[in-house]
């Protein structure tokens, strides 16, 4: 691995917090090693000049585009007919709660949100 490692243990701590992961001491050390090796490999993208290349968010950008319209209405997939046309009925309460680790019949129960 290069001696100019990109990702430090501090970075790993910061990112794991963003990702809602804790990671053990051992996992953190391994993560520093793995992320650096992958990011070193990823660096080869900088060989390409992409200044004038548009970004591609997804394949659907390439079809179903109505150029006469503005914003998200240009895209066929932007309209959620499953919601709009009521095709996606809400799950019955009982079904929605059946996979929960803790529920009281009406709500999901979770530990205290605000600590004293």
């Amino acid at each position: 691995m290069s001696d100019t490692s990109k990702v430090t243990e501090q970075d790993v701590s910061y990112v794991s917090e963003l990702a809602n992961l804790e990671l053990t001491e051992q996992e953190r050390a391994r993560m520093v090693r793995d992320l650096n090796s992958i990011l070193d490999y990823i660096d080869r993208l900088n060989e390409l000049n992409t200044d004038s290349v548009p970004a591609m968010a997804q394949v659907s950008d390439r079809y179903g585009v109505d150029e006469s319209k503005q914003g998200s209405s240009r895209f066929a997939y932007a309209s959620r007919e499953d919601v709009k046309d009521g095709l996606r009925p809400s799950l019955p309460h009982e079904l929605a709660l059946q996979n929960a680790a803790d529920a009281d019949g009406a709500f999901f129960r979770v530990p205290k949100v605000i600590e004293k």
Binding site: V7, L23, E27, M31, R44, V53, M56
Partner: protein, 488 residues
């Protein structure tokens, strides 16, 4: 024991002629699974009740002399990333160990309404993240051709089940090669349709702009039959395309003479195993002798596909997997005293190493200060990769490549080196990024008797031509039959 390798046609015929019943077929497949799966490890759950009920329904129809649906009585199994009502669905992860979905994935529902009998759920890499099936939280899958080797991944169970004769058809998912690479390693057919061709409703999300559902089968014709059933617009997935679905089966026998087959040198470079190269070159010769014109094309950005993929796929995954927090479904840590501690501990306890690695990488490339350098950069290179294919497909109808640089590797061979594992997908990720369809079909065996896969890539929404060329090659080479005869 020699796999039976029924096809949809052969099962259809047996039922129609009254030689057997859907119930008897289901029963015989369950006993094959009983006998074999202890060693292979392809199944995570069986859905016997559902299978028995569906088979009985088909038998009723047959008895009454009513017309049978196209997939009547076909034993099918589903990769465990597709939700199935009332049948436990884990995505190969501990975090969904006890998850029983309240609804069906559209592709599964369409198969079942066409008469298919759902046998059970198939092992895979956790959240479809892996190329060897060794990232399953439950057990590894062994390659039925050689049980010291991996079946490929992430649809390893789906490929192994077909190869071992434990299902006639399976559904897999492909985000970076996860249908085609295991199909190649196990010596079966694996088809990834165009992005948006098959609804993703009910597919547990890994990377939403790259995820595809597709069939793994014994023959190209079976793949065409299954794709015809599951393809087409679904209002429940807004990215599913409103593009007419042709009759793939009817088009299979149109001669391929005069079609142009592209060969790109970028897919025959460093790292390609010599035996794989020779087998693919022989396949290309075969296509030439069928009257196809072989044309050299260039896909100059190919070497940038893996880094592009591992930015985009992990970024999307880090967002998609944020939903696993122990609140509404899935595992919850009992040790936490606060809500935020509960999120962290639940995820820490129940996600495996590769999933954590990808969530971390994805979160990193999206984090403040790095977004432009990584995520935006990758989206731009994705455009370049897609343009490569646009240019190539101005000159040719399909492109032929190896599916994977090597045949199946040994269990444990690459588990310590994530980057080496990622490179197993070097010839498959490009099609996911560009959204074009691709198929892997068997094209020979190595000296060690391991299957080799030929990949054929096509234009957006032109699965018909991909299937047609694959079918013509399969008919001419008979390689599938040779491969199954030489398997134990």
């Amino acid at each position: 024991m020699i796999p039976t390798h029924d096809t949809i046609e052969s099962v259809n015929r047996q039922i129609a002629e009254g030689k057997t019943s859907a119930s008897a077929i289901a029963e015989s497949y369950f006993s094959t699974i009983d006998a074999k799966d202890g060693e292979i490890g392809a199944f995570l759950a069986l859905s016997k009740e559902r299978a028995v009920a569906k088979a009985a329904e088909i038998d009723q129809l047959a008895k009454a002399g009513k017309p049978l649906p196209p997939l009547a009585g076909i034993p099918v199994a589903i990769k465990d990333v597709m939700v199935t009502r009332g049948v436990r669905t884990t995505a190969g992860s501990r975090i969904l160990e006890n998850f029983v979905p309240p609804y069906d994935c559209t592709a599964v529902a369409r198969l079942e309404s066409a008469g298919a009998v759902i046998l059970g759920k198939l092992n895979c890499d956790e959240f479809a993240m892996g190329s060897s099936n060794e990232n399953s939280a439950y057990k590894p899958v062994k390659n039925p051709r050689d049980t010291s080797r991996v079946p490929g991944g992430s649809s390893g169970g789906a490929a192994a089940a077909v190869a071992a004769g434990m299902a006639v058809v399976t559904l897999g998912s492909d985000t970076g090669g996860s249908i085609r690479q295991p199909a190649s390693f196990c010596g079966v057919v694996g088809m990834m349709p165009t992005y948006g061709r098959v609804s993703r409703y009910g597919l547990i999300a890994f990377a939403s702009s790259l995820d595809h559902i597709g069939p793994l089968t014994n023959t190209v014709k079976d793949a065409a039959l299954v794709l015809r059933t599951i393809a087409g617009r679904d209002p429940m997935d807004t990215t599913s395309a409103d593009v007419p679905v042709p009759d793939y089966v009817a088009e299979l026998d149109i001669p391929v003479r005069g079609l142009k087959v592209g060969i790109a040198k970028e897919y025959f470079g460093e790292g390609l195993d010599i035996e794989v190269r020779q087998a693919v070159e022989r396949a290309v010769d075969e296509l030439r002798s069928l009257g196809c014109e072989i044309v050299e094309v260039s896909l100059p950005h190919t070497e940038y596909a893996i880094p592009t993929y591992y930015i985009i796929a992990t970024a999307e995954a880090s967002s998609n997997l944020a939903r696993y927090d122990g609140v509404r479904y899935g595992y919850r840590s009992r040790k936490a005293r606060s809500l935020s501690e509960m999120y962290r501990r639940s995820r820490d306890d129940a996600f495996g190493a590769e999933v954590k690695r990808r969530i971390m990488l994805g979160t990193y490339v999206l984090s403040a200060g790095y977004y432009d350098a990584y995520y935006l950069k990758a989206q731009k290179v994705r455009t370049l990769l897609t343009r490569d294919f646009d240019e190539a497909f101005k000159k040719v109808d399909v492109i032929a490549t190896p599916t994977s640089p090597t045949a199946a590797f040994r269990l444990g061979e690459k588990t310590d080196d994530p980057l080496a594992m990622y490179l197993a997908d070097i010839y498959t990720v490009t099609a996911d990024l560009a959204g074009i369809p691709g198929i892997s079909i068997p094209c020979g065996m190595t000296k060690e008797n391991l299957p080799i896969g030929l990949q054929l890539l096509g234009k957006h929404f032109d699965e018909a031509t991909v299937l047609r060329v694959a079918h013509a090659y399969e008919q001419a080479s008979g390689s599938r039959l040779q491969a199954s005869r030489s398997s134990a």
